[in-house]
């Protein structure tokens, strides 16, 4: 009796499945299945990625656009006025200058240092693991939090006397080496000193990723090239210039390109060190960047913000293309 009911049940399910699959075939379910699996992702992408792309272009081409005005029923002229306004605005030139300066300084310095460290790490056995761990440590940090630590290291604590109570640990080291202390980032500090502070911090922050990539590249290089060089008695400098760098060129190109992209989007590291004033006390926004400019226009001047964002995108795009072009010519394989 029990057996019979199991058999009926099984048969029922078998029939049911067959019917279901026939139905699925009829409506071409297989064709739709992919889209069903993708539907949550697609809905979110349509709202938060595709619409912004169109809307940014739209807003940037409506002169003087703001959401407030649009809600109130204002009509905007079509034109490139927003782009003109962004470029004419003196604050924007400061942002552009800071962004370009920091990128041009930090990308070569950090790439060169990372390359040197990676090559050295690759050539040693003792302490290799421990040193690798230390060099990777800055990666897993909060750029705002550690920016505050760098600020503490460079900042002076002003007391009542002519000389500050504490000149900060970096100045202490400078004085120990026989130099004068420098006002790195307190009120009245000079622009170049601020830039040095930011360069040190950004390079420190950028090293671990670059070392990781370059070391990975070095470890996959065929040892035969080095053995051949050893047989020929090639000097170390020549081995570095003629073997290591060419073989590593794809990885170097990769870290340079990502470095440039990151550099043009510099923002939170400056907020970390200098605070939201983006500059020393009394000289706010002297270290403002492109992204900082865009962020402050959000919710107020959307037309200008969109134009600035498109300019940023264009710069990043062009720089990436140039980088790719150069690295294609220079890359070994």
């Amino acid at each position: 009796m029990a057996n019979e009911s199991v058999a009926t049940k099984t048969y029922f399910w078998y029939e049911f499945r067959k019917k279901l699959s026939a139905f699925a075939k009829k409506i071409k379910f297989d064709q739709w299945k992919g889209w069903i699996y993708l539907s949550p992702a697609i809905v979110l992408i349509l709202i938060f990625t595709v619409w912004p792309i169109f809307n940014t272009v739209r807003m940037s081409l409506l002169e003087g656009y703001t959401t407030m005005k649009e809600v109130n029923g204002a009509v905007f002229n079509f034109g490139i006025g927003n782009f003109k306004r962004v470029i004419d605005y003196p604050g924007f030139l400061t942002c552009l200058k800071n962004t370009v300066l920091l990128t041009v300084l930090t990308v070569p310095i950090s790439t060169f240092l990372a390359l040197l460290i990676a090559v050295c790490l690759n050539s040693i056995k003792l302490f290799s693991r421990a040193l690798q761990t230390i060099f990777f440590l800055p990666y897993v940090t909060n750029s705002i939090a550690i920016g505050m630590v760098f600020a503490a290291m460079f900042k002076m604590i002003i007391g009542g006397q002519a000389r500050p109570d504490s000149v900060g640990i970096v100045n202490n080291v400078l004085e120990a080496l026989g130099f004068d202390y420098i006002n790195w980032m307190n009120a009245g500090s000079e622009y170049w000193a601020n830039i040095v502070v930011m360069t040190v911090y950004i390079v420190w922050n950028a090293l671990p990723f670059k070392i990781l990539i370059l070391l990975g590249g070095l470890q996959s290089v065929n040892k035969q090239y080095y053995d051949a060089a050893k047989v020929d008695g090639t000097s170390r400098a020549r081995v570095f210039g003629r073997i290591t760098v060419p073989l590593l060129s794809p990885m170097i190109a990769y870290v340079v390109i990502t470095g440039f992209i990151g550099g043009f989007k510099e923002y939170s590291s400056i907020v970390g060190v200098f605070g939201e004033g983006m500059g020393p006390v009394g000289n706010a926004y002297s270290l403002d960047t492109m992204v900082g400019f865009i962020y402050r226009a959000i919710g107020k001047q959307e037309g200008t913000a969109s134009a600035a964002a498109l300019i940023l995108f264009a710069i990043i795009f062009v720089v990436t293309m140039i980088n790719l072009y150069v690295s294609n010519k220079k890359t070994h394989y």
Partner: protein
């Protein structure tokens, strides 16, 4: 004949001795360079910790102490009592946003990656190509419109606004799709013949096989919530929903520029602590994710 041999041997020995000296000198220079750089890299962490244990008076000494005279935990107590910071609340908010967004994001990523890796449908490759192309656009470009969108949805100052806009990551979909593609298709077909449903196959075969990648994504996503600053600052800057990085920055923004640095360093150390723990125990997974992405957090 034998004399020549001896002479040759002597020459050889001289050469190798010289080479050995050069080699040792090079090794010494390498180690000096590496240890100096390691010292520079690690110093900010050291300075953060010992500064957080100093009294303000000791911190203000003109000749700094490299180790506190006596270890003073009062700064940490002060951080927890700080009314501007509300560290416990910030911590819970961040944990909540991190966990929810990680779980939802994993579900969406797995389903999408499965569709792109295993299912055949019209427009698949075009759609995938389009998604990859959007990765080139800087996120700031989206933020302007997304700010308007979430405002129109009435999501300002909610947890939703911190979670939903970032659930889909094209990079994670790409990463997982590559992983899924490595799993032989025969397994899928065999499962089909046995009458296994797609979801069961996904759960029983594909997810276990790509677990390391899923762990990498989880860690990076959690770290993302912990470190995010700009978006939370824009859309949820109220006490009930503020995330930890934003809270840390706002609590210690002081116009005079003379903040109590030891207390500030104690707060920074507490915010950094979970990241250190992740680093110590899960470094392998982070490095794996990082070396393929080039994104931070």
């Amino acid at each position: 004949m034998s004399e020549i041999k001896v002479m040759k041997q002597r020459d050889m020995q001289q050469v190798t001795a010289q080479q050995r000296v050069i080699k040792i000198v090079a090794k010494v220079i390498t180690y000096i360079f590496l240890f100096t750089m390691a010292l520079i890299v690690i110093f900010p962490f050291y300075w953060m910790i010992i500064s957080s244990l100093k009294t303000l008076d000791e911190y203000r000494l003109s000749i700094p102490t490299l180790f506190p005279k006596f270890i003073d935990a009062r700064n940490y107590i002060e951080v927890f009592q700080n009314k501007d910071l509300l560290l416990g609340k910030l911590f819970m908010n961040t944990l909540y946003v991190g966990l929810v967004s990680t779980i939802l994001s994993l579900v969406i990523t797995v389903l999408s990656a499965f569709a792109f890796a295993r299912l055949e449908f019209k427009g698949r490759n075009a759609l995938f190509g389009f998604l990859l192309a959007t990765m080139m656009i800087p996120g700031e470009l989206f933020t302007i419109t997304n700010y308007q969108t979430v405002n129109a949805f009435g999501w300002m100052e909610t947890f939703t606004v911190l979670i939903v806009p970032f659930l889909v990551s094209v990079f994670y979909i790409y990463l997982l799709r590559q992983n899924f593609l490595q799993i032989p298709n025969e397994l899928y077909l065999a499962a089909k013949v046995d009458g296994t449903t797609d979801l069961k196959y996904l759960w029983k075969v594909m997810i276990p096989l790509s677990l390391p990648n899923l762990i990498s994504i989880t860690i990076l996503k959690m770290m993302g919530a912990w470190n995010s600053y700009m978006w939370p600052r824009l859309v949820a800057n109220d006490d009930a929903h503020r995330l930890i990085t934003n809270g840390l920055r706002t609590a210690f923004t002081d116009a005079s520029g003379n903040t109590d640095i030891p207390v500030q360093m104690a707060a920074v150390a507490l915010v950094s602590l979970p990241l250190f723990l992740v680093f110590v125990f899960l470094r392998k997974y982070i490095m794996k994710g990082v070396s393929r992405s080039g994104i931070k957090g």
